[in-house]
């Protein structure tokens, strides 16, 4: 890393990314000192690999994945940083709200594994090809996605009779099903 690389500015990164990604990038913009790249869900793994392995951008650090519910559509945001320059890159993938599906990037950045589980947990976004897409923070038998804008608090749903309480016995992950055991 040289001082020159660190001086890479957001417009330079944007132009470079435009050349690097070509048609894969649907839209590029600078928003709040981030370079925001909108990509289609099907192009995400290709874009992620190119950004990670490029010598100049080298976005090897995925700080987080965020799910967003815009009520009309859903989005996943991928916050990327590099050790070699100081411009954060944000990938933006728009998803169909009825069937939110996006390819997993857990094999590109290992840290994505739990972030994707969290986004699945709270927004019901299906990450295709994820090695282990289970609930991470909510209960195992949680049947709704609490951070969707139309999700109501559990208490209210229970009062209205939509939820009666825990019906299935909670099982340890990896523990065989009690029915199988007997």
């Amino acid at each position: 890393m040289t001082a020159e690389d660190l001086k890479l500015t957001a417009p330079e990164v944007l132009e470079y990314a435009r050349d690097l990604l070509g048609k894969l990038a649907r839209d590029l913009a600078i928003s709040d000192w981030h370079v925001v790249i909108e990509v289609g869900a099907e192009d995400l793994p290709e874009v992620a690999l190119r950004l990670r392995d490029d010598n100049k951008l080298s976005c090897k650090y995925l700080s987080t994945i965020i799910g967003v519910d815009y009520e009309e559509w859903m989005e996943t945001l991928y916050m990327l940083r590099s050790q070699d320059h100081s411009v954060p890159v944000r990938l933006r993938v728009k998803l169909d709200r009825e069937r939110p599906e996006v390819p997993s990037v857990a094999y590109i950045w290992s840290g994505a594994n739990w972030h994707e589980r969290e986004a699945f947990d709270f927004f019901g976004i299906q990450f295709q090809g994820h090695p282990d897409l289970r609930h991470i923070l909510t209960r195992e038998d949680m049947d709704s996605f609490p951070l969707r804008k139309d999700a109501r608090p559990h208490r209210k749903r229970r009062r209205s009779g939509q939820v009666t309480g825990i019906e299935e016995p909670v099982r340890l992950p990896g523990e065989p099903d009690s029915r199988e055991r007997s």
Partner: protein
Amino acid sequence: MTAAGEITGQDRSMLHLEEMVLNMGPQHPSTHGVLRLVLHLDGEMLISVDPVLGYLHRGFEKLAENRTYLQYLAMISRLDYLSGIFMEWSYVRSVEALMDIEVPKRAEYIRVIIGELNRIISHHVAIGDFMLNLGAVTPFFWVFRDREDVMDMLEMVTGQRMMYNFMRIGGVRWDLPDAFEADCRKFLKEHPAKIDDYEKLITDNEIFLARTLGMGIIKPYDALDYGRSGPHARPPGAAGDLPPPAGDPARPAVAPEAAPGEVPPHPVQAPGAPRRRRRIHHVLEIAQVGAEMADDEQTERERCRENRRRECREEQRDGRDQNETDEEEANRVRQE
């Protein structure tokens, strides 16, 4: 069983060796970081671990949905109760970025000073708890004793010991009290000696070394790949801190950061502590100059005000004199 102690063939089937699932935890919900580990064991060998988390998820995002930006402010310091200032700071910074609000310089300085103090005591707890988890109780008391000095200062400034609620969108709640500066300078003077004490107590301690050296090694590439940052990424060596984002308003340009690599990475002690202290020193110096300038301005303003008052008084007196002469004239005319 062979001579080497290996279990083979028929012995293995006789022993009914099978994978055992063992539950470890969770700890009591008020301990630092509640985690349950589901262990998969083959005898005493650990095959895999399945971490179960979420015991402390409090649904702040959902709670925020039904509140205004101002209402939500009071909840923010609860996100991380050990460094509430930073939680508040990041939140108000986001709102300020959205609303395009510029923060006064003085408020920025106060934020940096309070923030760095908060960071120091947060590191104190980290050191103390880490040692406590290793079975050493003394360091815990030492760091908490020294943490108390800073807590007193923060209480003096914010009125709270932990849930500060001090940041405001566009500034801070109120100015620093007069007694703060002397206390802060005293702390900064005395604190390095205490850090040396921690070093003596912890860093070269044989038990500590025996329990940490060579344990849970993270390779530099893995650190980056798993998204470890800050103190978690520094020990592997290659990772280190990411360069600060250019143009990020969340990094106020009031105090210069130490050049990377200037402070050697340290296995236990808060790696940034000397840097933080220097930063506070620096900000206090700036604040000092600022205060003097403000005083000058104050005296200047006072002088102007005093002049204006005098002028007013003179005008009034002149006016009164005028009125008096008018009245006298009128009387004279009436008498005539």
